[in-house]
Symmetry: C2
């Protein structure tokens, strides 16, 4: 009974907060200390059962509250984005760490990046197979190496040196992703065309990546992004998530941004940093810059996806050109808002 | 006798063209169809014998003329930058492909990227060990895959699928680099501190990377970059060279840029694309934008290096904050200019 009641409250909350962004794919005019996303794509009422809607809403609420507690306690935006991203990495719902999509060979390969808006320090890791929380490795690269981007076996050797928690690749592989993979292999054996979309294998087309941007009481911005990349990816493909400027950017002078979508277009357009550049050099607001990049540059290039971001005044943007984006933010009073559909 | 005469002419040419940029680290006001670099760093008269000065000047002349022939024949800027970079990749003088520096384990790992200013298409490859010309792989990624960045074994499997020339890792390892590596290992065994600088091992500190930017008769800009990364690099470190926006950028609306230097700073500042953004959004000229990025952002972050670039009108920049940069350009009449020192 209590469970049913909770479900109703959650669904009402989801419907309510979804309505708040019903008339624009850009959700602005709100103030926040932390904003998150859990991927963009064909996220529609038809594609997502009520149970799964509730599960996503709950997971995003948890990520927001974990990050909020840090900010509210006077903690750093860097700590908040890492904590929020780790909640989503540990959740099997999102395409990052546990629950990530599988590559063409059935393994999990993870990418992540982080940036500190106060110093422009940054760290990233690509093609990670055994670090439980890739975002913690990105942070360690930033803070404990002279480098920004480490990849593959070398990155994992570094992770072990600095004492991060290592897991088997099997830890990341959920039953749902294994079923998707088996379906992919069957269709491949039947001669079906290859595709990077999970959509044809019983899931909505969905660019799963998780990310967060935060603003702390010191006025410092930070952004973080973590992903499993595209389903059944081949050839050591790396998307925008570990690329500073493409998938992640933060600069106290402008904004903190995390992106999700068809990563190749975010790389070519340098879209996360482009939002910062439009604010810094063209005088646009965060809202204007994010809209220009998502509905302008990204759409013109032919790419799909979205961004979440915060400026130094706590103005929030959650902008996408897809049917939906898992997204949410929390304000300075601890009020949370989560949404997933376009309308 | 003829050889001695040629050497004198070449040295005079080098001195003459060096003098042209004696009063500024930014060489502007010239028109070019192709501009190249071969790395920046402590490149001084004291650090470089006359013989080696001549060898670098000859190699750069060759790269410029190979690229010039393509542009002069009505060919594409993309073809010109690839051809010019391949000359330097094949030369043992530069830190790219043959002659690249060795990693901490004594192998060669190569990165490259390319971008087409007409379409914003881009391709890149990282941690390559067996593709003779990494820039040709970057181009194949751009033109023959749906991706922008491939890395490691997967990238090499793709290279084989598309029929690129494969070589043993030994092909890249020159006697000079093996000597450097042996000296590094000896010092390591003697407990010397680790360093990424080749300088302490009998070579000037020098961020070796090669790159080119070109403008063709159709008005299309293109940029390309190729590197062996930092000497004795560990942990799968990747620098800015395969990162679109950091080490390479091209957009017909603004400029084509290739960078060289301490890659981590170019990634954090998104420096190649930042030049484009300053032109597009702040209305700066190529010269002003390159100067702002190299003498402003890069220097303020604490990084060393330089950039070469062209705008859509053929204005050239070769800007660096180090003691020298191997650099040169060729104008529409086939006149070449090469230089390496600051003064």
């Amino acid at each position: 009974m209590k469970d049913t009641f909770n479900i109703i409250i959650l669904l009402l909350g989801t419907i309510f907060t979804t309505c708040q962004v019903a008339f624009a794919q850009t959700s602005d005019g709100h103030k926040a200390v932390l904003v998150i996303h859990g991927g963009a794509g064909s996220i529609t009422h038809e594609n997502l059962s009520d149970d799964r809607q509730q599960a996503y809403a709950e997971a995003m609420e948890e990520a927001l509250l974990v990050g909020y507690e840090i900010i509210a306690g006077g903690g750093a935006s860097l700590d908040a984005v890492v904590a929020a991203v780790m909640v989503m990495e540990d959740s099997p719902l999102f395409n990052s760490a546990r629950g990530a999509v599988l590559t063409s060979t059935g393994t999990v390969e993870l990418d992540a990046s982080i940036m500190d808006g106060a110093t422009l320090d940054a760290g990233a890791a690509a093609a990670i197979k055994h670090v439980r929380n890739p975002i913690s490795l990105a942070r360690a690269v930033m803070e404990q190496s002279d480098h920004v981007l480490l990849m593959g076996d070398g990155a994992e050797a570094f992770a072990e040196e600095v004492g991060l928690e290592m897991v088997t690749n099997e830890y990341f592989r959920t039953e749902r992703r294994v079923r998707q993979y088996e379906s992919y292999k069957e269709q491949q054996n039947e001669g079906a065309e290859e595709t990077g979309d999970a959509g044809v294998f019983g899931e909505p087309d969905y660019y799963g990546t998780v990310g967060a941007a935060a603003l702390d009481s010191e006025g410092n911005l930070a952004a973080a992004t973590s992903t499993g990349g595209t389903s059944f990816k081949r050839w050591g493909r790396v998307g925008d998530s570990p690329i500073i400027g493409a998938g992640t950017y933060a600069d106290n002078a402008t904004c903190a941004i995390s992106a999700t979508g068809t990563g190749e277009y975010f790389i070519r357009g340098v879209l996360a940093y482009r939002i910062s550049a439009l604010m810094q050099y063209a005088g646009l607001s965060l809202r204007e810059a994010a809209s220009s990049v998502v509905h302008g540059t990204l759409t013109e290039l032919g790419g799909d996806g979205g961004v979440i971001g915060l400026d130094a005044n706590g103005n929030v943007t959650m902008t996408f050109n897809t049917e939906g984006m898992f997204r949410g933010y929390v304000d300075g009073a601890g009020n949370t808002y989560v949404a997933m559909f376009n309308r």
